[in-house]
């Protein structure tokens, strides 16, 4: 391991510590706490104090901080204030749906968008390019809740091809295969809506990168050498655009764990996004702290992975060394 990677890992560790500290103080800077937001005349001030004691909110701040840091470092995230269940259990129960929904949609939207972007760049001014630019601009300009509600109305209500909500039918089918098919059937509409909303930005981005690359001298040289168009496009032009595409893809990875609040709400999905939002709004420090900590870890790991992937994808990139002329 060269000094560059040692420096990168040290930097990542410093960022992680910063995230842990910021996580603790940012939530406590917010006005109120999990108890003060209980506004119920059946809950006397004494009962509220009992609850504050139960949550450890009556401890001095530095003591709360040390308990919190110990928990983060040992991955024992404690008990959620809102549900009284272990935070890790809460997150764990939501991750499969979130990964299935956002992982599928990220993979599909990036693959479709990239393929369309390359195709559009290949024939400048053609129908496909115009269609990609138009549909791409439209797809990411529409608010997600609007598109998803229209899809729900059309394909789950007017023409009931897909279910209205959730990930299982009620009552649940018996047998493993019927359940898997049922699960996929439920995910098609929410995942499809995210692909619809997401492929456009990928397509336009890749098309722009490819258009720029196809105007470079080395492409002219490749053409002069008589290489086939497919080889020029995929082996030369596309390969040189891979580092930024990979970087964007890898940096989008933590997003598949953070969830999609609106999609989860519209399709009534049990996912991480809504959990995260509820934790923040309900001052559920253990849950919100743990969720942001995991996201921070994933973001740091994705950054490191993006660096590594770029060096593999493009031999011109040699991190930590001055370019040799």
């Amino acid at each position: 391991m060269n000094s560059y990677w040692i420096r990168r890992f040290a930097g990542a560790l410093a960022v992680l510590l910063l995230i842990i500290t910021a996580n603790f103080f940012l939530f406590r800077v917010m006005p109120g706490d999990a108890v003060s937001t209980i506004v119920d005349p059946r809950f006397s001030p004494e009962a509220k104090e009992k609850m504050r004691h139960l949550f450890g909110l009556d401890l001095p701040l530095h003591q709360q901080f040390f308990i919190y840091v110990r928990r983060m470092l040992s991955f024992d995230f404690g008990i959620s204030f809102l549900s009284q269940r272990p935070v890790w259990d809460e997150i764990k129960s939501r991750i499969p749906n979130t990964l299935a929904l956002l992982g599928t949609s990220l993979l599909l939207s990036s693959a479709i968008g990239t393929w369309l972007g390359v195709k559009a760049a290949r024939k400048r001014g053609g129908f496909l390019e115009k269609a990609v630019i138009f549909s791409g601009s439209i797809s990411f300009s529409f608010p997600s809740f609007f598109v998803q509600l229209v899809l729900l109305l059309l394909l789950a209500y007017t023409f009931p091809v897909f279910p209205l909500r959730g990930t299982v039918s009620i009552p649940m089918p018996s047998g493993t295969l019927p359940r898997v098919i049922d699960y996929i059937h439920h995910l098609i509409l929410p995942a499809g809506s995210l692909v619809l909303l997401g492929f456009g930005s990928w397509a336009i981005y890749v098309r722009n990168l490819m258009v720029k690359t196809l105007g470079e001298d080395f492409i002219l040289l490749a053409r002069a050498r008589g290489l086939s168009e497919d080889r020029i496009i995929w082996n030369h032009a596309f390969r040189s655009t891979l580092p930024p595409i990979l970087t964007i893809f890898l940096l989008a990875l933590p997003g598949i764990v953070s969830g999609a609040v609106i999609t989860e709400t519209v399709f009534s999905l049990h996912g991480v996004g809504k959990f995260l939002l509820d934790s923040i709004l309900g001052h559920d420090y253990p849950s919100a702290g743990a969720a942001f900590y995991i996201l921070g870890l994933l973001t740091i790991a994705s950054n490191l992975a993006a660096d590594a992937a770029c060096t593999l994808a493009d031999p011109r990139i040699r991190v930590g060394k001055r370019a040799e002329r």
Binding site: P31, V39, S44, S93, L269
Partner: protein, 553 residues
């Protein structure tokens, strides 16, 4: 055109409400549960819930006016409407000038067109109020001093008290030369509570017209609570969800409740009112409580620490094709009586699909205060007494009768509650329910000082169980409300809770029952047996075949 449509809607809703009220029902005719399977299906988005109701799910609560309008025209769906224990009001900070001036508060009250606001914003699904308990309350006092909308009268009232107006039209307090300083009205943000923010805007307009230089300060809920707790405010709007017992008036207006975390947010200190509220809180019997509650409302109308604006109606959408739906003036079809009594209109056995608008959080009856958890737990756990949905009076449930006695007098007076339990009641796992279950439940809640039940059980001095069918609870002081606090608390199976080590993280819905296949530790004596909770999806219950309503004994 729009106004005409709104007025028509309001009239239609009122007629519907009256029709519902007049219909009535015979509680003794209720029988059940009749339907074998009940699913509480989680719909987080109101739009998808609407689609589900239109498509075939049975019941769901509706909160948005636009949805009421939409569903009222939809074939196959009918709306069930009732008054609610809800009160929206504007409060003053009585600790500071000029809000410590009663005349100014009364004049402000007269300047606000509550009736018009409710008509414009809620299309008739709320009612304007001028009292400190909502009209649905059994303790509601109608004959109080009201400050009806009368801008000219408000100006006259202020003139008589020596208030003047500056050339700019702002009010000048008596004996002063400079007009009122600009003030802020705290309200929730339009994103979080659009109707509350709109009502606050209309109130501010009316106050400006009177000469109070007020502007809105929309705040995040947590920030608003912080400002109210630190007394850093002039005016605020807020809504309370109340219960049938009027002792919340003590929490809102007694001077001892003007403490951090207390609910006397406005800082009212009135010795005469305090005495009446103490009579209400520690009333030995229903009659004393009733008198004190009515007296307190009359006094509050004079003092005007709040301006009550409106009380919301509850609206539930019900699919047609089912019979046995129970609705009264005080409850929509969304109640346990409906679940027990309803069945498909054409015979057969279809599962009930009931929309749940949020995820249950823990299904831990000790720690949860989520209303959605209690929609589930309320079908499993029973209490000693229940509430008649028609008149909100106490009716037998696990107890067939009870007595409230007072021993001693003056400061040594104590309430003694004696419950005679019904016989032949069984827990879902077949174990017989006895007085031991009641005693163990109350002792569990008291010894562990569980916050949710802390106020209910803290005054218990001792519990006696002379036999399997009798429970005597001796309280350390006198209060009629002890009956509701003790009699309304859920009763847990002693053979289950005596093995609970850590009540905070207890997950009864996830622990298998030690001896009965298909059951969890979430068992009660209620009409439905909990079967499965699939997070994010549904909660499944089946009918408890051994369940028997008290009048079927």
């Amino acid at each position: 055109m729009f106004r005409g449509k709104v007025i028509l809607s309001a009239l239609a809703l009122l007629v519907l409400l009256q029709a519902t009220t007049a219909a009535g029902f015979d509680l003794n005719a209720v029988n059940g549960p009749k339907t074998k399977d009940l699913y509480m299906v989680i719909y987080r988005d109101p739009d998808s819930q609407m689609l589900a109701l239109q498509k075939g799910d049975v019941l769901g609560d509706i909160t948005r006016p636009v949805d009421i309008e939409r569903l009222s025209n939809f074939p196959g769906v009918s709306l069930s409407i009732s008054r609610a224990f809800h009160l929206f009001f504007m409060g003053f900070n009585l600790r500071i000038e000029p809000w410590n001036d009663t005349t100014l508060r009364q004049a402000v009250s007269m300047s606000i067109p509550s009736r018009q606001i409710v008509r414009d914003i809620f299309s008739g699904y709320s009612e304007p109020v001028s009292t400190y308990l909502p009209p649905v309350s059994p303790y509601y006092e109608k004959s109080v001093k009201t400050w009806d909308h009368d801008p000219a009268g408000a100006r006259k009232l202020l003139e008589e008290a020596g208030w003047k107006w500056s050339p700019e039209g702002n009010l000048v307090p008596p004996g002063k030369t400079s007009p009122l300083e600009p003030v802020r009205l705290l309200s929730p943000t339009a994103q979080v509570a659009p109707t509350s923010a709109e009502v606050a805007g209309r109130i501010a307009e009316a106050m400006k017209a009177l000469g109070v230089p007020v502007s809105l300060e929309p705040l995040d809920f947590s920030m608003m609570i912080k400002r109210l707790d630190s007394h850093d405010f002039d005016l605020f709007v807020m809504a309370w969800s109340l219960t049938r017992d009027p002792d919340s008036l003590f929490a809102f207006f007694h001077s001892s409740m003007d403490v951090p975390g207390g609910y006397n947010i406005q800082g009212l200190h009135d010795e005469a009112l305090d005495r009446v509220l103490e009579r209400l809180r520690w009333a030995p019997d229903r009659e004393t409580a009733d008198k004190a509650a009515r007296r307190a409302q009359k006094m509050l109308s004079e003092i005007t620490p709040w301006i009550p604006i409106y009380s919301r109606y509850m609206v539930t959408a019900v699919r047609e094709g089912w019979k046995g739906i129970i609705e009264t003036e005080r409850t929509t079809a969304d109640n346990i009586w409906t679940l027990i009594n309803m069945e498909p209109g054409n015979g057969g056995d279809r599962p009930i699909m009931w929309c749940l608008q949020e995820e249950p959080r823990s299904l831990n009856p000790f720690s949860t205060s989520s209303v959605y958890d209690w929609q589930v737990l309320g079908l499993v756990y029973d209490s000693l007494i229940a509430i008649d949905p028609e008149d909100l009076e106490d009716i037998p449930w696990l107890a067939r009768s009870w007595e409230v006695e007072t021993s001693g007098s003056g400061s040594t007076a104590k309430t003694r509650l004696t419950f005679a339990l019904r016989s032949g009641i069984r827990w879902h796992d077949g174990v017989l329910f006895t007085s031991r279950d009641v005693r163990k439940s109350l002792e569990f809640l008291k010894s562990r000082e569980i916050p949710r039940y802390f106020d209910n059980v803290r005054d218990i001095e001792s519990i006696e169980t002379p036999d399997e069918r009798t429970v005597i609870v001796n309280m350390s002081n006198t209060s009629f409300w002890h009956l509701h606090n003790i009699g309304g608390s859920p009763v847990f199976p002693a053979h289950i809770i005596e093995n609970v080590k850590d009540w905070e993280s207890w997950q009864p819905s996830r622990e298998k029952h030690p001896s009965v296949e298909g059951l969890t530790m979430l068992i009660g004596t209620g009409p439905f047996v909990f079967r499965k909770y699939r997070p994010g999806e549904y909660v499944h219950f089946t009918r408890f075949d051994d369940f028997r309503l008290p009048w079927r004994d």
